[in-house]
Symmetry: C2
């Protein structure tokens, strides 16, 4: 059994505890061992009364606890968490953190101190998207030519609103604050600093570049106006806050700024609070990773993936991820029982009564029509195009058989499912 201590039981920390508890069976199947949260640390004990773990206010209770195997650091800040995780590593404990500011300043010292002890940080960049996993392992055969990403959901939410709804910067900022997407002091997000911390982490993995935030170009989005958006639309661009790392000979340029991006680029299609990171490798070409960049559960998903990875380290996971069925009783569904919406195309003779006959067959099979278009096709012949509400595969097949047997249906009906 592996014992975990969570320093910082806020939104993310609470979600970590809940995932480890609620998804326990698949997690132990994948990790090859049971993982339990032994204790947590929280500033205000009165805020955590519903979790069945030991609680205290002192991080040292966790990093000095000989029973704890893995320390989860979710405090925020830079220098204090640095002291805490150093101590944890010195005590031989593995560390998982979501703290991007800590890594933006201290990642190389931490790599040095960690040595052979696992130190993982998937949640520090782009929340639930396994981008560090992809960059460090999935693309390891490649020289990375560039990384270009939407790494801050607050800015992307604001720019999307400004682009799509014509809202002015100040109004959309107020709205983002009301929705909890932006902090009361939004400088860290809209000034580009949050994205810069993430970019520095990715640049280390891709290039081994040890830069500090102060050394790179960082600009935010507060100068963007509707005048700029009108210009962008006229020339086929969207406006996004991008973090960019690009190889240029022996140099690597790192920059965070608002940018006009061609509408056709995949990265320009990432809207709202979502994050997306495009990585170009010299062999693979462009790959892109998309998902939620923040939120308790999404961030905790990445934290727990790191915990599982640490628990099984040294052991290889079985080829397909686990040896036994992941869950008792899980089985393949009979294709007849699949439910879907359907689109049907019929070629029909254009004569009286045929529509009534066809709609009666739909009703007989309890299949409800959502939309129907009849279009003349050739002389005395028409296309009948129908979309349905959800129905069973079995029923739609029976219906199609009966439709085909009608004299007025001139060829085998064609069906495409609607997803």
């Amino acid at each position: 059994m592996i014992r975990v201590g969570v320093i910082g039981v806020g939104t993310v920390g609470r979600a970590v505890v809940q995932i480890l508890e609620e998804n326990r069976s698949i997690i132990s199947a994948r990790a090859g061992d049971e993982i339990v949260v032994k204790s947590g640390v929280v500033r205000d004990l009165s805020k955590v009364t519903d979790l069945s773990i030991e609680l205290s206010q002192d991080p040292y209770n966790i990093v000095n606890d000989p029973e704890i195997d893995i320390v989860i650091e979710l405090m925020g800040g830079i220098e204090f968490p640095f002291e805490i995780v150093k101590k944890a590593l010195q005590n031989g404990k593995a560390v998982v953190t979501a703290n991007k500011a800590l890594l933006a300043y201290h990642r190389y010292e931490l790599q040095e101190i960690a040595g052979e002890i696992p130190f993982e940080f998937e949640a520090s960049v782009a929340g639930g998207i396994p981008i560090i996993n992809a960059l460090r392992d999935g693309l390891s055969a490649n020289h990375i030519l560039s990384i270009m990403g939407i790494m801050n959901g607050t800015c992307n939410y604001m720019l999307t609103k400004m682009m799509k709804e014509g809202v002015a910067f100040d109004a959309v900022l107020a709205e983002a604050q009301a929705l909890g997407y932006a902090e009361a002091d939004p400088t860290f997000d809209i000034g580009g600093f949050d994205a810069a911390h993430k970019l520095l982490i990715l640049a280390s993995i891709a290039y081994g570049i040890d830069a500090k935030p102060e050394e790179i170009l960082i600009e935010g989005i507060k100068n963007v106006t509707q005048t700029d958006i009108a210009f962008a639309k006229e020339f086929g661009y969207t406006i996004k806050l991008l973090g960019i790392a690009a190889r240029d000979g022996d140099e690597v340029e790192l920059r965070v700024h608002a940018a006009l991006v061609k509408e056709a680029a995949m990265i320009s299609k990432i809207d709202g609070v979502m994050n997306g990171i495009s990585v170009v490798g010299d062999r693979v070409g462009e790959t892109l990773y998309y998902g939620p960049g923040a939120g308790g559960n999404a961030t905790a998903s990445a934290v727990v993936a790191n915990i599982i990875d640490i628990v099984r380290s040294g052991k290889r996971s079985p080829m397909l991820g686990f040896n036994h069925p992941l869950e008792e009783g899980l089985r393949l569904k009979n294709p007849d029982n699949i439910r879907s919406k359907y689109y049907l195309r019929l070629r029909i003779a254009d004569k009286a009564g045929i529509l009534a006959k066809i709609t009666e067959l739909f009703a007989n099979h309890s299949i409800s029509v959502e939309a129907m278009i009849q279009r003349p096709f050739a002389q005395e012949c028409a296309h009948l195009l129908i979309s349905t509400h959800e129905a069973l595969e079995r029923d739609i097949r029976a219906l199609m058989g009966e439709l085909e047997s009608l004299d007025a249906v001139l060829e085998t009906p064609c069906m495409i499912r609607i997803v």
Copy 2:
């Protein structure tokens, strides 16, 4: 030193040999050991005369060679490669394959035989996209609710052409064949079987479902016509060939078919030969993985990533992926030297000569104007919106300083980079 044997030196096998050779220094930094291709197997020896590896026509030369540590299977087919990789595993050799048909039929037997011996297959699904990595490791904290993917580039190329250019099915198929995107006998692709093999592999990792292709719903795209496309456009859909795995209580439904997909969904934005797979986890929500699903280099990128992973197995990779700078001499670029295209917004007094003065300053800094729009803004005042060709950050900043000092420029100029 780790010795690799490549069975099947075709497009992908050749790219594997080349990547291991040409990207040798980063690969050994990431793997922690040197990796060399010792030998290859090819049906027609006269087709491979330019690679400096031992060549033969007999796969058993590789699987029985005591010096070979890792066998790369890129033959294609099902039963013969099954015999070959079984023998390799029995001889204690790790195996990497890109063979989806082999896995669609024999993955559970292979997992059984492999036991503790590494057997990897990232390239078998979606070419260069590290989707197996993401699903097995990155999302391991989640119950997978659904997987929905564009897993066949041939079909996606054809459907994209049909949607965007109004080309009929037969014409676009002929074109895809001429371009080498579709085989002379295209049934395997356009009938949905290729996508089905990939879906079965993903379903095993997500759910532990041991289904065969014969047990699931598989339909292709050959019934799709311009009539259907017109209907789809009218109701805000695109048409895609999807592989879908979805959890429904204790059942998992697996299906491959053409589908009408809402234009707003990220998956509907994946065009041409590209692949994209959306995965919804119970905690992380939706994540999506996009990239090239085929091609020698992209597929080889995944094969080599697996080789690297096997070489360092047991050892943990250092926190940031490698211990020393990945490449000698790689350094951060001075932000002044970054090159970009720029968009500038100036508020100017609307009087004679000002435009001449401004364009002269651009010329003085060798910054070339791409497009310029002047719009009246208020009385005797206008917005001047300018996009430039590529220029140096240093020059644009100098230019902006001079622009700001002009009397006729009424506020600090605003600049957004164009990517």
